[in-house]
């Protein structure tokens, strides 16, 4: 049967067909939809872990007792999972284990552009790279065979344009006989004491040499010989752009990007006049080809930064570009927090209090956008609290009071909690605001241990944040309604004054939550034309439902779009002239 699937959907399908029993992940764009699709298959136990390291550990546990397992994450997530990953390379597997890492060239929704292929080489783990959805499905199945045949975890790298693009896929059946997991003890392999690990290192090195040779005859590494003048080595999405831009060129399409099939590369090089490597981000293939003494052109013509497009490939090869009209400069259209978002009041208050805001990853990173403009730093998941500790250590007592860390519920549970333990233990004096909206919002509303539901929609324990903070040793813990500006102002300024750690927890849900009864919108508000004097106070919270109409009233007036307004009431509190009221 044929279907149009995204790369992520095809990977989920491939996992199902391969007989996977356990799938675990922390959501991260562009990898998130893989697990949102494995839940379509009853046979797979799918779950969100609190972070990528835990997700991988869950996968390892399942593999060690014989089940095929799938672990997915985005590129920066691999940094978090790197610790178990490198040792997993030594232990190898029992049931096949596949780690998907989704890179984001062009930083469509990430804080850096790192190239995960380097992790495969660093951890000495084979890596496959599909070029469309059909290959996502097939490579996923192949990865489990390689994993079990070579006793190794396998990585599969996608990029945003593979994860989120859709193409036609032919589906297959789930493998008939999947071995039943059972306890298997093999301490020499699974207990990585130095004595055991030393021996395993030789196994790892042999495996890579064997795979490099085997790669020369793997069908996924294929030579497409056309015109011999130009030969291009490429993989993944870059292959598609090369075929589009240089339809006549000969191509060596690599499905396995680590280890490289060097004999096949030598053979291809001998058949063409001039050799190129076309790859996104790092000179990963290029450097290795050069290291075996084959001259090749790559990063001289293709940038190390950003994603490729057919146009960028044309340009690199000096082909004429299509005439492109230009249009005059237009106002930008950046993303914005939703109308009624519970975080807006907190950011408004922090701006009023002139706080130094140590920010984190999530919707609240959008607090950086004007007019809220209330975020001073943002580095990686969970870093806000540790960074606030660091800053508070060196600032004068007066300036220290300004330091506030903000972090979302999911991010706090991901790695923020470690920073908070450290802050309390090491007597850091900053204010930490946990913006608990009860969901992992930015990536598209995934459940987390604070939401009370699992990925498979079963009700479960919901974390009690105040009690958790208390257990860590925080003495000053307060809960506030983030939609009440007076309360925000009072509580946050009091806690900022305190010369020791304080935690403030906000308790309003994300407006996009789908579960019944968690979020109920209020009545939409409206601006009474005769009362609005055009002071612009309500514009300061940047709600997308409020528009400035310069032609109304004497000085212009605000207008609220009744279809967008969620009735959070924050704008009403800002209007000194009572011009904002419930719509009639």
């Amino acid at each position: 049967m044929k279907e149009i699937l995204s790369g992520n959907e095809a990977i989920a399908r491939g996992a199902y067909e391969a007989g996977v029993k356990v799938a675990c992940a922390y959501p991260g764009t562009p990898s998130t939809e893989i697990l949102e699709n494995t839940i379509r298959y009853q046979e797979i136990d799918s779950s969100w872990a609190t972070n990528e390291k835990v997700a991988l550990e869950v996968g390892i546990g399942a593999s060690f007792v014989g089940a095929r397992s799938l672990v997915t994450m985005k590129h920066v997530g691999v940094n978090v999972a790197a610790d178990p990953l490198f040792t997993l390379s030594y232990t190898g597997v029992n049931g096949g284990l596949l780690l998907i890492c989704a890179d984001d060239p062009e930083l469509h929704s990430s804080q850096n552009e790192q190239d995960s292929r380097n992790y495969a080489k660093f951890a000495k783990i084979p890596m496959l790279e599909p070029a469309d959805s059909q290959e996502c499905l097939e490579f996923t199945k192949l990865a489990y065979e390689i994993s079990e045949r070579h006793d190794t975890p396998v990585m599969l790298r996608t990029t945003t344009r593979i994860s989120h693009s859709k193409s036609v896929v032919t589906l297959g059946e789930r493998v008939a006989a999947v071995a039943e997991p059972k306890l298997a003890r093999n301490a020499a392999k699974f207990v990585m004491l130095p004595g055991n690990a030393r021996g395993r290192h030789y196994v790892v090195e042999d495996r890579i040499t064997t795979l490099s040779k085997e790669g020369c005859s793997m069908a996924i590494n294929r030579m497409e010989l056309r015109d011999k003048k130009i030969g291009v080595i490429t993989a993944g999405i870059s292959y598609q752009h090369v075929r589009e831009a240089l339809p006549e060129a000969s191509v060596l399409k690599l499905g396995m990007v680590f280890p490289l099939p060097f004999d096949l590369i030598r053979e291809f090089a001998s058949k063409v006049d001039k050799l190129y490597v076309v790859e996104e981000l790092d000179a990963f293939i290029e450097d290795q080809v050069k290291a075996i003494g084959i001259p090749v052109t790559g990063k001289e013509i293709i940038s190390l930064c950003g994603e490729l497009t057919p146009g960028r490939v044309r340009k690199a090869f000096g082909l004429p570009e299509n005439a492109q009209g230009t249009v005059e400069k237009l106002p930008g259209r950046p993303p914005n927090m939703c109308p009624g978002c519970p975080h807006r009041g907190v950011f408004y208050t922090l701006k009023q209090l002139n706080a130094y805001v140590s920010g984190d990853i999530g919707c609240y990173t959008l607090g950086f956008m004007p007019p809220l403009s209330a975020m001073d730093t943002c580095v990686c998941m969970g870093a806000s609290i540790g960074m606030a500790t660091g800053a508070s250590k060196v600032l004068s007592p007066e300036e220290r009071k300004k330091v506030v860390a903000v972090i979302g519920d999911s991010t706090f549970l991901h790695t923020g909690i470690n920073g908070l333990m450290d802050m309390v233990y090491n007597k850091g004096a900053a204010t930490v605001i946990i913006l608990d909206n009860r969901i992992t919002a930015m990536t598209g509303r995934q459940e987390n241990p604070g939401s009370g539901h699992t990925l498979m929609s079963e009700p479960t324990n919901a974390i009690d944040f105040p009690m958790l903070c208390q257990a860590i040793g925080v003495k000053n813990i307060r809960t506030i309604n983030p939609l009440d500006l007076d309360e925000c102002q009072r509580v946050i300024s009091e806690e900022m004054e305190r010369p020791e750690t304080s935690v403030i927890i906000t308790d309003k849900p994300c407006v996009l939550i789908k579960k019944e009864g968690v979020f109920t919108p209020g009545k939409p508000l409206a601006v009474a034309e005769d009362s609005c004097i055009g002071c612009r106070a309500c514009l300061k919270i940047g709600c997308p439902a409020i528009e400035w109409v310069p032609t109304s009233g004497k000085k212009g007036q605000a207008k609220i779009d009744p279809l967008l307004c969620n009735g959070c009431d924050v704008c009403r509190q800002l209007c000194k002239f009572s011009a904002i009221q419930e719509a009639k």
Binding site: H241, A323, L539
Partner: protein
């Protein structure tokens, strides 16, 4: 089947139903026997950001992205976003655009005006332009939110794919309770094409 690939760009504002429209397009082309690829960016764009979706179909499609300046049809859900991405269109390409303005943040805040006369500017640059009153036609069909299906109807007239495949795709992708309204919206749009 000729080797020609048809390149369609769907542009607009996050939340306007662009992704669903792109899914219906792709499904239609697959049902009609073509190879199809579709590409877009998720994440930030869900919160009111600018959205572009690429749909390409033909005998064999390689890149999922429409090569710059090779778009055959620009299918716009909002005027300013349509104007912004005109450069992706080939000279002489077709524009089908919803007559609707959605103010971006700088305009909401009164810092910049929403640019004037965009519909005219688009028509000047692209003579083959159809301006659709999607919102009102959708209301006529029974639901203001079906504007994307009205637009699909208008686009469908410009593509050589039989109507039955469009209807089949809509039936497959649109939730049951919204189906009748969407079929009507599609027919209204198609009558404009």
């Amino acid at each position: 089947m000729s080797d020609k690939i048809t390149n369609i760009l769907l542009v607009g504002v996050g939340g306007q139903g662009i992704l669903l429209a792109a899914e219906i397009l792709s499904e239609t082309f697959m049902l009609a026997g073509f190879d199809v690829k579709k590409s877009e960016i998720h994440g930030m764009s869900q919160r009111g950001g600018s959205v572009v979706s690429h749909v390409r179909y033909g005998k064999e499609v390689f890149s999922p992205m429409v090569p710059e300046g090779e778009g055959d049809i620009l299918f716009g859900f909002e005027l300013m976003e349509s104007y912004r991405y005109l450069s992706l269109l080939k000279p002489g390409g077709t524009v089908i655009v919803n007559d609707l303005c959605i103010a971006p943040p700088a305009v909401l805040l009164g810092q910049e005006p929403y640019p004037d006369g965009l519909a005219l500017k688009i028509q000047e640059l692209c003579p083959d332009c159809l301006l659709v009153d999607g919102q009102n036609l959708a209301i006529e069909a029974g639901n203001a939110r079906a504007a994307n299906t009205v637009l699909l109807g208008a686009v469908s007239k410009r593509l050589d794919v039989e109507e039955k495949y469009w209807l089949e795709a809509i039936e497959k992708m649109v939730p049951k309770k919204a189906l009748a309204v969407n079929l009507k919206a599609f027919a209204l749009g198609r009558s404009l094409g």
